[in-house]
């Protein structure tokens, strides 16, 4: 079953200096339970694409949208940003319970659910802490638990591990794999890290430089259950890495030639 289908999507930002095309003729589908990752040169409109799927662009007056993004049988969406976007005045558990609170779930019920998800991301015992008392990696786990806790059918992630150090990142990649296996949520994640895209993704979409198009698509045939380390040691990983990097390099070079 298709969860997301994007068809011939064009997005432009209108500013006082003119029109900037962010996305051009983007079409792709994401199926139920799939983990799709996207890589592309910086500024290629990856975030714009996620925001379009999340329906966040339709609020804005300075954005021109053509084409369609359809999310099917999706009542709610979870979104994890690069910066955790937690409410600093709320404790960890209150942050995780946020989506349930918005839904109107009773306090007792949402706290016990939130506790379950905190356990899932390995933060049991931290429920009463405030975000500033946690490390960046822990805060990002809280953000992930928050996105999962209200049981959305689709989870969008915009470079969620981008600001973390390499070790923490590897650990969280493994955790994302585990969570995906356990919850079977449909996940779409944007990253600038090719290795991460291969390790996590069932499919990797490579985007072109601006205006962003889907340049190519790779199915990742690494054995499951996966782990960050085992995947890196697999010859298939190296083959895909080279393919994706070659494609991406062209785009980055083209970008640098057009904007010296």
């Amino acid at each position: 079953m298709e969860r997301v289908s994007v068809e011939d999507l064009n997005v432009s930002y209108i500013s006082s200096t003119g029109k900037i095309d962010a996305l051009q003729n983007v079409s792709f589908k994401v199926y139920d339970g799939e983990f799709v990752t996207m890589v592309g040169p910086s500024g290629c409109g990856k975030t714009t694409l996620l925001n379009a799927i999340a329906g966040l662009l339709s609020f804005r007056k300075d954005v021109l949208i053509k084409g369609t993004t359809i999310v099917q049988n999706v009542r709610s969406i979870g979104y994890v940003f690069q910066r955790d976007a937690l409410l600093p005045w709320r404790t960890v558990i209150e942050n995780v319970a946020l989506g349930l609170e918005v839904k109107g779930v009773s306090r007792e019920k949402r706290m016990s659910t939130a506790l379950g998800f905190l356990r899932m991301v390995g933060l049991e015992g931290y429920e009463g802490r405030y975000p500033h008392e946690l490390s960046a990696g822990m805060r990002q786990r809280v953000a992930l638990a928050r996105a999962l806790a209200y049981d959305p059918e689709l989870i969008l992630m915009d470079e969620p591990l981008g600001s973390l150090d390499a070790q923490t990142r590897t650990i969280l990649q493994d955790e994302l794999l585990t969570i995906h296996k356990r919850t079977r949520k449909t996940m779409v994640m944007v990253t600038h890290d090719i290795a991460e895209a291969i390790i996590l993704g069932d499919r990797v979409l490579v985007m072109s430089s601006r205006p962003g198009r889907i340049k190519s698509e790779y199915k990742v045939e690494l054995p499951k259950p996966r782990s960050a380390l085992n995947s890196r040691l697999d010859p298939e990983f190296n083959r895909l890495y080279r393919l994706i990097w070659d494609g991406l390099k062209e785009e980055i070079q083209a970008e640098q030639l057009s904007h010296p």
Binding site: N51, A54, G55, L56, F59, S76, I77, G78, Y79, F81, R83, A85, L86, L87, P88, W89, R90, T91, L98, G99, E101, V102, K103, Y130, P131, H132, R146, Y150
Partner: protein, 259 residues
């Protein structure tokens, strides 16, 4: 170094200071006299005057009057400041129209306003409440506006993705953020309210610490002026300390910031 030795050093410093003051004003021995106590006063004279103020003239009444004026100015300033701050943040029409006027009004040094305010409201408590309000209002207004503008856009996106209503976003994100900015400025607001009330009392009043100061000046009671300044200082410190306690209680979630 233990906290105890710090306190001892501070106490010693104070004792030495008071001793020299007393001595130079001629209170220890006439031969040591250097200042005219009419101008310099002395710790013993101030102590005597404090006794008179507290036990014979009921200065408590004046303290309560000034605190009451400051409190009402603060309360009204908070409510009106938040309301206008929200209006500014939500309506581009309102903010772009009124912005230069707000700036101009806030540029007026409030003491310059005091005679006019007495003219409008008389010499009762309302003119003091107005003056206290006129300072607090702008502090709260700007803090509210900044509190809303400083909200992480991603947090608002999270709320949108969760299908939160405008009311929920207001209750869960916007008002707490505004409240945190207001509490962070509470100490400042409290001292401003006190300043406003006292300025009002200087210009025209029948009670209050400011009124007592002007009264003592008129009668050339220099010792009393010193004693009253001490009282004002003590009252100010107490109120600001209370504001600090409230700040800390409500802003527990913040990383420790030392000043």
């Amino acid at each position: 170094m233990s906290a105890w030795t710090v306190h001892v050093r501070r106490l010693m410093f104070l004792v030495v200071l008071l001793f020299f003051w007393e001595a130079l004003a001629g209170g220890v021995h006439p031969s040591l006299s250097l200042f005219d106590p009419f101008y310099s006063s002395s710790p013993s004279r101030i102590a005597r005057e404090l006794y008179v103020l507290f036990f014979q003239e009921n200065i408590f009444k004046d303290i309560l009057v000034t605190l009451g004026e400051a409190f009402f100015g603060l309360a009204i300033g908070m409510v009106s400041g938040v309301v206008l701050g929200l209006l500014f943040a939500y309506s581009r029409l309102v903010s772009s129209t009124l912005e230069p006027f707000m700036y101009a009004l806030n540029s007026i040094p409030r003491p310059a306003l005091a005679p006019l305010v007495i003219f409008w409201f008389g010499i009762g408590i309302f003119s003091k409440i107005f003056l206290a309000w006129s300072i607090v209002f702008f502090v709260i207004f700007y803090n509210t506006y900044l509190g809303i503008k400083s909200i992480d856009p991603d947090v608002l996106n999270v709320m949108k993705v969760m299908n939160a209503s405008r009311l929920q976003t207001m209750r869960i994100v916007i008002l707490p953020s505004v409240a945190s900015w207001i509490f962070a400025g509470l100490r400042l607001s409290v001292s401003y309210a006190l300043i406003g009330a006292i300025i009002g009392e200087f210009v025209g009043a029948t009670a209050g610490i400011g009124y007592q100061l002007i009264y003592a000046e008129g009668l050339l009671m220099s010792d009393r002026l010193y004693a009253l300044v001490l009282v004002v200082g003590f009252v100010g410190a107490t109120v600001v300390e209370m504001a600090k306690r409230i700040e800390n209680k409500f802003l527990r979630w913040r990383p420790e910031v030392s000043l």
